[in-house]
């Protein structure tokens, strides 16, 4: 091992080898992540003409596209409206049970989205859920249930980001406002929120992208309603290649445009801070109003998010006490495929995680340390985000279109590339941010003391970013296991666990409600165990670091 490290050390001293490593990471990114989806669309551009010849299909497609963006913008907006007060309550509250609330807020984030979709379907539409109080299904499958679902899984993202922003925020600014005579509401509106603007924009973008991209659980709750991803899935099943390429292209293009507009104009957005309504804002600062606001935030979280998210526990527990559990364990009936799918999901997650680390680390270093020069590194920094904002099913379609030109390309390879494309930006983002936080003086000191580039990386950068590396790995792993849209787009034979569960719910595979409940339950439990194990390992490393 020592000889191996010494060899790498010597090699890293040579500029040509360093250029080769960084150059390879750039080539990898363009050749396998960014360019194939673009080329995939371009190569099949002429097929798009099919949709223009079919007005009713065109109308359906544009309606689906519009629905996707309308839902995403609406969901991201209500995420902010309801998530921000909750984040404030958690970050600034002094009650002891807030730690428990803080943990509960993460639950929808941790539950695989496909299990979340089924849980919400049962809660809002099923006979055993909240509907039992009203004697009928309260919310039928359709656009409203989609909004509730998207709100449920994107809300924790906003709360988590904003809690972090509020905790990092220098409270002195608010104290400056209060000691100048501003009541709490005015201080928050005119000082705190404008300073947190970047965080608010970032959480809006994350929630927007998450909603736009979601496919598997959306398929479960959509009924006959079509948004972009559902249209693509339906078109694929019916063999309508032209329409699905058209919708994929429009989703990708418009998503990129919206992202660019928000990134460019967002920082220029000026919040109204000059105008003040002293009397009204003093009333809004009162304890009664603040208590009401916190109460409403908690009520909305409990009733609209937590209860529906956890509802899947009931059928899972019922299944344990019925014969379903025995069938599951013996792999009888539908269960024979389930375990294969589960193994495929986790194995895929592991492979994608390892590939991301190998390919993503050099890119993260390149961006963080501007090794390619200031402008090229900035451009790379922007381009790396592209797969993150694009709906995953659209990305999957374009990737599939490109690689299927190579007939020998196996379905498993397509699956790996699709998951790699979707998860790569998350890892590079997390690692480049972590590397930027490492003071460059530390690296320079190590070099001056005689450390070669590989030694500096191994002994300085890696130990100081180990926590982020593990956290990034967890993020990729869970994202990959959860991923449905791109998987549906690129494969026909292979089925990951989320895809299988979607087919169970949609009835394309005959599974009972107890089968579905237990299937979701297993997915949740195994995901929890793996996450917990990885978190314990991270904490252990963090303590020793």
């Amino acid at each position: 091992m020592e000889r191996f490290e010494k060899t790498l050390d010597l090699l890293s001293s040579k500029p040509s080898i360093r250029y080769l490593v960084y150059g390879s990471s750039i080539v990898f990114f363009f050749a396998l992540i960014l360019v194939p989806p673009i080329l995939g669309i371009i190569l099949k551009w002429d097929l798009m003409g099919q949709i223009f010849e079919n007005p009713s299909l065109m109308s359906r497609a544009t309606s689906a596209i519009y629905s996707s963006f309308a839902i995403a913008i609406f969901v991201a907006t209500i995420d902010l409206i309801f998530g921000l007060p909750m984040a404030w309550f958690i970050a600034r509250g002094k009650l002891r049970w807030l730690d428990i609330l803080d943990t509960f807020v993460d639950i929808p984030f941790i539950i695989p989205t496909v299990a979340l979709g089924y849980s919400l379907l049962l809660f809002w539409s099923g006979s055993g859920g909240i509907s039992s109080l009203f004697g009928r299904g309260l919310v039928s499958p359709g656009w409203l249930l989609i909004i509730l679902l998207h709100f449920t899984f994107s809300y924790p993202v906003v709360v988590r980001v904003m809690v972090g922003e509020i905790l990092d925020y220098e409270q002195l600014y608010e104290e400056g406002a209060r000691t100048s005579g501003a009541p709490p509401f005015t201080a928050a509106r005119t000082v705190t929120l404008p300073i947190l603007k970047q965080g608010i924009i970032a959480s809006f973008i994350l929630a927007f992208a998450r909603s736009l991209s979601e496919t598997g659980a959306t398929l479960m709750v959509a009924g006959t309603f079509e948004n972009g991803p559902i249209f693509i899935n339906n078109a694929k099943n019916l063999g309508y290649e032209g329409p699905l390429i058209f919708v994929s292209f429009v989703l990708i293009a418009v998503a990129c445009a919206i992202f660019a507009i928000i990134k460019l104009l967002g920082p220029r957005l000026r919040m109204p801070v000059r105008k003040v309504w002293p009397d009204t804002e003093r009333v809004l600062s009162g304890r009664g109003i603040a208590g009401l606001r916190d109460g409403v935030s908690i009520w909305i979280f409990l009733v609209l998010i937590l209860a529906p998210s956890l509802f899947v526990v009931l059928p899972a527990v019922n299944a344990l006490t019925s014969g379903t559990f025995g069938q599951a364990v013996t792999g009888a009936g539908v269960w024979s495929v389930y375990w294969q799918s589960l193994v495929l999901s986790y194995a895929l997650g592991a492979v994608v995680t390892v590939l991301n680390i190998i390919a993503g680390l050099p890119m993260a270093l390149l961006i963080a340390r501007k090794k390619a020069g200031k402008l090229p590194s900035a451009i790379l920094d922007i381009l790396v985000n592209v797969p993150m904002v694009v709906p995953s099913i659209a990305l999957g379609v374009s990737i599939g279109l490109f690689w299927k030109n190579f007939a020998f390309f196996p379905e498993l390879g397509l699956l790996i590339f699709a998951h790699l494309s979707i998860t790569y930006p998350y890892f590079v983002r997390a690692m480049s941010a972590a590397i930027e936080r490492v003071n460059i003086d530390l690296e320079d000191s190590a070099r001056i003391l005689g450390g070669r580039p590989f030694t500096v990386f191994r002994t300085i950068i890696l130990p100081l970013t180990k926590y982020s590396l593990f956290a990034g790995a967890i993020m990729i792993f869970t994202r990959s296991v959860d991923e449905t849209g791109a998987t549906l787009a690129v494969v026909t034979k292979l089925k990951t666990a989320p895809v299988l569960l979607v087919s169970w719910v949609k009835g394309t595979v005959p599974a009972t409600p107890l089968d579905i409940g237990l299937g979701c339950g297993f997915l949740v439990v195994f995901s929890f165990i793996i996450l917990l194990t990885m978190r314990i390992l991270i904490r252990g490393e963090h303590r020793h670091a």
Binding site: E175, T179, S180, I195, V273, R274
Partner: protein
């Protein structure tokens, strides 16, 4: 009537007692400094007055009114933070007019007051600059203008000069006091810099470990420190341990290390009692050679430092104690290794009971 009154105020953070049963009064138009080492509770005391933290016990009065339950925005104060806390998304003008705007003042009154403050702090030409475009000294002036424009009679300052370089600090120190006095405000100023406190304050409150050690005028604190800590923290001091060998009506005789006898004009001590003697370096007399006289010890010059109008001498006494003396440059000058007679005038020696935890512990700053 006192403008600010604290009555038996205490504040804990977990197990740490930050402010321990503190009572003090700040009179109308007075400039008072809270002076002490880091962690002594001076900033917490200031924040208690501002309403930024709530007391666990005790009462706080501002202008005769009990303000324990009154939020900061209703206490009629201005606050200058150590790091200025200027709103980064607002320019200087918007920062300064923030207080009047949130209180609903009409625009004419707001503009008049803000212009007046900008003139007073000499920043009228930089009203449209953002905090990131201003130097440290300018940031401090904007922060001060913002606090003054808020309209209160009570100005609270938390180490307002701490972030500035030495020269600017010296300049702004005098300007700060002048502004406060010209505007007829009451000020409470937190600092760990004793020179700053001595220069600008009407009275100083010396704090240590959450308690008040002594309150007094700068002269009073310097000349008559009530405790060993205050004698050490405010100015420089020489300390000698000894025991009382003779007690007379208005004086005592103390035997120090090495058997040297010192006469001190103090009373209230008993024969055989261990005590600590203190003399300021500028009150320590130096004579060349060994001259036999009362209240003197012999020693040699170990080092000297040129301070401009003064020279500081470190002298190693024959009993191995080290004393510091400051002598005007116009007087006699000595070289290293010169034999010296060190004379302590009895009227300039202060005596204290020997501290229970030992002298070293008592002299600890934090």
């Amino acid at each position: 009537m006192p403008e600010v009154r604290l009555v038996n105020v205490s504040k804990k953070f977990g197990k740490i007692v930050a402010v321990d049963n503190v009572s003090l009064q700040v009179y109308d138009k007075e400039y008072v400094s809270l002076l002490g080492p880091s962690g002594c509770g001076k900033t917490t005391t200031l924040r208690l007055i501002a309403g930024l933290v709530d007391p666990d016990e005790g009462e706080i009065y501002i202008g005769g009114k009990l303000v324990n339950k009154v939020p900061p925005e209703d206490r009629g104060i201005g606050f200058v933070f150590q790091t200025f806390a200027l709103f980064p998304h607002m320019n200087a003008w918007d920062n300064i007019t923030y207080g009047p705007r949130v209180k609903g003042w009409d625009s004419e009154k707001t503009n008049n007051v803000a212009n007046e403050m900008l003139e007073m702090v000499k920043l009228a030409t930089r009203f449209d600059a953002y905090p990131r475009e201003l130097s440290g000294g300018m940031l401090q002036r904007v922060a001060l203008a913002r606090a003054l424009t808020a309209g209160g009679n009570l100005l609270l300052l938390d180490e307002p000069l701490g972030q500035l370089d030495a020269k600017i600090r010296l300049e702004l120190r005098y300007e700060l006091r002048r502004l406060v006095k010209d505007l007829g405000l009451t000020a409470v100023h937190v600092t760990h810099d004793q020179e700053e406190a001595l220069t600008i304050s009407d009275r100083i409150v010396v704090m240590r470990r959450g308690k008040i050690e002594q309150i007094g005028t700068p002269n009073g604190l310097y000349m008559k420190p009530k405790t060993i800590f205050v004698a050490n923290f405010v100015g420089e001091a020489n300390f000698m341990e000894g025991s009382v060998v003779k007690v007379e009506e208005k004086e005592i005789y103390v035997e120090t290390r090495g058997g040297f006898m010192v006469r001190v004009f103090e009373k209230g001590f008993e024969k055989g009692e261990m005590i600590v003697l203190t003399v300021r370096p500028e009150n320590t007399g130096l004579i060349k050679g060994e001259v036999k006289m009362k209240n003197c010890l012999f020693g040699s010059v170990e080092s000297l430092t040129f301070l401009g109008s003064l020279i500081r001498y470190h002298i190693r006494l024959d009993n191995q104690d080290l004393v510091v003396a400051k002598v005007p440059i116009s007087g006699s000058q000595f070289n290293i290794n010169d034999r010296i007679t060190v004379y302590f005038p009895p009227e300039n020696i202060l005596a204290y009971k020997y501290p229970e935890g030992g002298l070293r512990r008592e002299l600890e700053i934090e």
